[in-house]
């Protein structure tokens, strides 16, 4: 009977309490307004797929996001390797010679396909890549990598390929010539050492392969004529076979010297193998424009380290650099990513290079990784010389060193590349660009050297299909039609994992973030509608806002409800039991109240890690205390009420009194804190996202604003800036108004500080 009475009383109290709240709520127009907005957002969240045609992770087609020519070519052989590029034209003035444009792809089964390419269209903006046909060849099985050797007057193309421990030479008709069995597992190929480019007859003269601590250097020799269309590589002697006591890292270093004003005296030997030793550096002079050196270094931590490098020594006066004495720079991409050393030396003409006279030896500390510089190149214009280093795969930084002409200490430009660098960087000399491939983008560093000591490196980005099997490569100029008016397209290709070649023109640029509007996909002819525009990646802002409402509502309500739950629980316990329990709990509350909220939330989130639920946890941890204190105060006054005494006299347990008599009376208060809390959570979460402590995989409005900030379009894309902010304000405000309605009417004395 007692129990029955009590239960009536309980449900009655709850019902009265809830009914009172609702009755009062109806009298508050702003509360109803707030509730209407919340309901609108809930509907939006539930029916997101109906409202928004795209999912938030769906990107706009490449042809919309990109201004240049773009498309795919199917590959008819299976499991294709990294494509081999045929760079067929090295610039204008080729004359009327036939230019072979093409891409060759191959697999380890010994199959290869060669595509003949051309371009159509009247000018650069109309350029279209044209596949003129493909042909099938057999090549040795197990070839891992192929390098093309290209001749200036299109006298022929040869390929050097390797698999395991054998080096092959393939001719342009892909007939095979077995070159040498080196006796170790080849892991690296040096690339081709070019002979001096302005010697138009012999662009190629050697290459090296390496693996473990072995390095083989092949240098072509013999008296061969370029005019016979049958360049022979058969007489490669082995000039260089060195073992080092430590693992060397001879990675592909291929340098092109395009310095225009050097004239090599005809009497000068194209290359000589005399070895100059200077300090730690051993130079193997291969040609006027190329050197190979080995260097014994000691790392900062004391590890001995030895490298074999090839490189270019480029002369000063050739490039109208302001070098009074013709200082030259040798870039030594050395150690485990910490040091990049420069040697400067005197020299006037290339033919008089004095490699031993190292006059200055400075080092530029590099912070950022423990990997060797994978690729290093030298970019030369008539105003600037710029060694570049790329670090991969864990380090996604590209560093440009712009050697200051007065002291050669070097100014470095470091550009962070989002995502892992995925393959070797490539120089696009004709477009004054470098391309750094990553898993999903090809980053282009266009280097504009307007002043003598500063280079302007910007990073336009071309999209790459996600999940590309291989890194994008630059395939060079593809010429249009006849020789009279040369229009060429610079193209980059990659192979995607559905066995197609994806190509795009380097002349184009990334257009997104797209302003609001309708766009036509030129490949499929479909129209895409973006009423609020897109972000940088081509995601629809509208979709992001609509889908984002889901996450905002879930985290807002979860966090606020949890904080209130904890606060009410601790508050009632503390207030009801008093004494020691009260003292302990309230000291705890004091501690939490004295912590600056945002600072500790940031600290906790940064220690927890980037996950949206960690953010929620951090917010809960630092927001229950205030509620607990207020609930305790209310409980203190409630527990002296006559009905509590009456209930106790009947024999009700403490738990029963707390749930049946105190909790219902605290309820309006919890409504208030719940409702106002949701807005606070949403804003705090957005703030954390924006400051960079959010979950990059979560679809929240804050992340949308964070991406806006990190991609640098903050002030340039208002269609991206305004919607998420307005959505945050509306949702937060609506919860606040609802909370306020409870606050003002149900409990007028209870006011927000």
């Amino acid at each position: 009977m007692k129990k029955y009475l009590n239960s009536i009383e309980t449900t009655g109290a709850f019902r009265r309490s809830v009914r009172g709240v609702l009755r009062a709520f109806r009298r508050s127009p702003s509360g109803i307004f707030g509730l209407a907005i919340i309901i609108a957002f809930v509907i939006m969240a539930i029916f997101a797929p109906v409202i928004s045609p795209y999912t938030p992770d769906q990107v706009a087609p490449y042809s919309i996001q990109f201004s240049g020519d773009i498309g795919t070519i199917p590959i008819n052989i299976s499991s294709v390797q990294q494509p081999l590029s045929i760079v067929s034209s090295l610039g204008g003035g080729v004359g009327s010679s036939v230019v072979t444009n093409g891409i060759m792809v191959f697999n380890e089964k010994g199959q290869s396909l060669t595509y003949n390419l051309g371009v159509t269209g009247g000018n650069h903006s109309q350029l279209k890549l044209d596949v003129k046909g493909s042909s099938y060849h057999s090549i040795p099985k197990g070839i891992k990598s192929l390098y093309s050797v290209v001749y200036y007057k299109s006298v022929g193309i040869s390929y050097i390929g390797y698999g395991n421990d054998t080096v092959y030479l393939l001719y342009s008709n892909l007939s095979v010539h077995y070159l040498y069995h080196v006796g170790f597992n080849i892991t690296h190929f040096s690339g081709i050492f070019n002979r001096y480019i302005y010697d138009p007859y012999l662009p190629t003269m050697g290459f090296a392969v390496s693996g473990g601590n072995h390095t083989f250097l092949f240098i072509e020799e013999g008296n061969f004529s370029v005019f016979t269309n049958s360049l022979s590589f058969y007489s490669f002697p082995l000039y260089f076979n060195t073992s080092y006591p430590v693992i060397t890292n001879p990675l592909p270093y291929l340098y092109l010297d395009h310095s225009p004003s050097i004239i090599i005296p005809t009497t000068h030997k194209i290359y000589d193998y005399s070895i100059n030793v200077s300090r730690q550096l051993t130079y193997y002079k291969l040609s006027a424009g190329n050197i190979v050196w080995s260097q014994n270094l000691t790392l900062r931590d004391g590890t001995p380290y030895s490298i074999l490098k090839t490189g270019i020594v480029f002369p000063a006066e050739s490039a109208s650099l302001d070098y009074n004495q013709g200082k030259n720079v040798v870039v030594v991409p050395t150690t485990n990513g910490f040091i990049l050393e420069y040697s400067t030396r005197n020299g006037t003409l290339m033919s008089e290079v004095q490699l031993e006279s190292v006059i200055q030896h400075t080092s530029v500390p590099f912070q950022g990784g423990n990997l060797v510089a994978l690729w290093s190149g030298v970019y030369v214009t008539n105003q600037i010389s710029m060694p570049i280093s790329f670090f991969k795969p864990d380090i996604t930084y590209v560093t440009f060193w712009n050697p200051d002409q007065s002291n050669f200490t070097g100014i470095s430009y470091t550009i962070a590349i989002p995502g892992k660098v995925h393959g070797d960087a490539q120089v696009i000399q004709s477009a004054n660009m470098f391309m750094i491939p990553t898993e999903s983008y090809a980053y282009y560093m266009s280097i504009v050297p307007p002043t003598k000591s500063s280079g302007n490196a910007s990073t336009p980005i071309l999209p790459m299909p996600s999940g590309s099997n291989y890194y994008p490569i630059y395939i060079g100029n593809i010429l249009l039609g006849g020789a009279s008016t040369i229009i060429s397209g610079n193209y980059v290709i990659t192979i995607t994992n559905n066995n197609t070649i994806f190509y795009e023109s380097v002349v184009g640029y990334k257009v997104s973030p797209l302003p609001p509007g309708n766009y036509k996909d030129s490949v499929t002819g479909k129209y895409y509608s973006y009423p609020l525009g897109t972000d940088y990646e081509g995601h629809s802002i509208l979709s992001w806002i609509v889908y984002g409402a889901r996450m905002e509502l879930v985290i807002g309500i979860t966090a606020a409800a949890s904080a209130v739950l904890i606060g009410v629980y601790i508050g009632i316990l503390s207030g009801y039991y008093g004494k020691a329990m009260d003292a302990v709990l309230m000291r705890l509350v004091d501690v939490f109240l004295s912590l600056p909220f945002l600072i500790f939330v940031i600290l906790l989130v940064s220690l927890l890690g980037t996950n949206i639920w960690y953010v929620v946890i951090a917010i809960i941890v630092f927001s229950w205390a205030g509620i607990a204190r207020v609930v305790r105060a209310v409980t203190l006054s409630l527990k002296t009420r006559p009905y509590v005494d009456a209930s106790r006299a009947v024999g009700a347990s403490n738990t029963r009194i707390m749930t049946a008599h105190i909790l219902p009376n605290v309820l309006p208060l919890t409504f208030f804190y719940m409702s106002t809390g949701v807005g606070g959570v949403i804003i705090t979460e957005a703030t954390l996202d924006f400051l960079g402590f959010g979950d990059p995989t979560a679809i929240t409005w804050g992340m949308l604003l964070q991406f806006l900030q990190t991609t640098g379009y903050t002030l340039l894309a208002p269609w991206w800036l305004f919607p998420p902010g307005i959505a945050i304000i509306l949702l937060s405000l609506s919860f606040y108004l609802v909370g306020r309605a409870f606050d003002e009417i149900v409990n007028p004395r209870l006011r927000r500080r």
Partner: protein, 321 residues
Amino acid sequence: MGGILRYIAGRTIQIIITYFIIIIFVFLMASFLPSNFVGLLAFSHFTPQQMAYLKAQLGIGLPLWESFVVFFVHMVTFNYGNSFYYGVPVMSLVEQALPRTLLLLGEATVISYIIGYVVGTFAGWKRGGVLDNTSIYFSFAFYNIPTFWLGIILLYAFAFLFPIFPLGGYVTPGIQGMLPAFISLQYHALLPMIVLVLISLAGALLLMRTSMLDVLGEEYINLAAAKGLKERDVLFTHASRNAILPLITSFILSLPFIVSGAVVTETIFSYQGIGYLFISSIDRLDMPVVYALTFIIALLVLVFNLFADILYGVLDPRVRY
């Protein structure tokens, strides 16, 4: 008088205990949470010297108990060591950044409370009037604007579309002379200050209005009106003077948060104050700075809370310790 001294002594002990708990709390967080600092060290590249320094200063790499002792002793004695990133003592960084933050936030807080006081007074006096409604809706709106977004919008409007203000920084580099430097300082602080004023105005305004409504219900207001005093006298000498009390408490309570409150605003405006230092130090894993700022700010909050309580007692004669 003895009462107040005993009260202060009691509270001081309480503050010290709370401060210790905060240090322990942060130490536990930093030792056990998933992406804790010690764990991240595995991916960093510190030299042996740096590692030795970490061991001596923060107890990194020692057994947990010894590590805690080293950490605790250093933090309690304000020996925060050197910044990893800047290589200078943390305290010198704090000394550099703190005045900027105090200038920016101090001015912003004072201005917002003054405006809040004036507008709140009139809004409460004429309840339901135009000013009252306007100010309430204004406050609601600004209560719910993310600070960072408001900052960007202002930057977009007044530094980009109409480039009146600078995009960031705290002073024009290389400026000479006291007066130009001061003007430059104020000029750079103006836009962030507007953001802070707008954000914190809402609270001050609503509080003052509510307090006015409470006071206006008191009998001595009726008495004053019945005496035939001028409306202005009733408003200022009787109503608003009494209603200001909660506002002052709130003001004092907000003072310690001056240091921490600028985290977002300073980051947006690249204003190199404490908040900016905190965020960038977390990004750089510059833990000595992070710890120092965390504990300094926490301690400031504790001390100012006590200060507020005491001041409250002085201002409100009804309060007895």
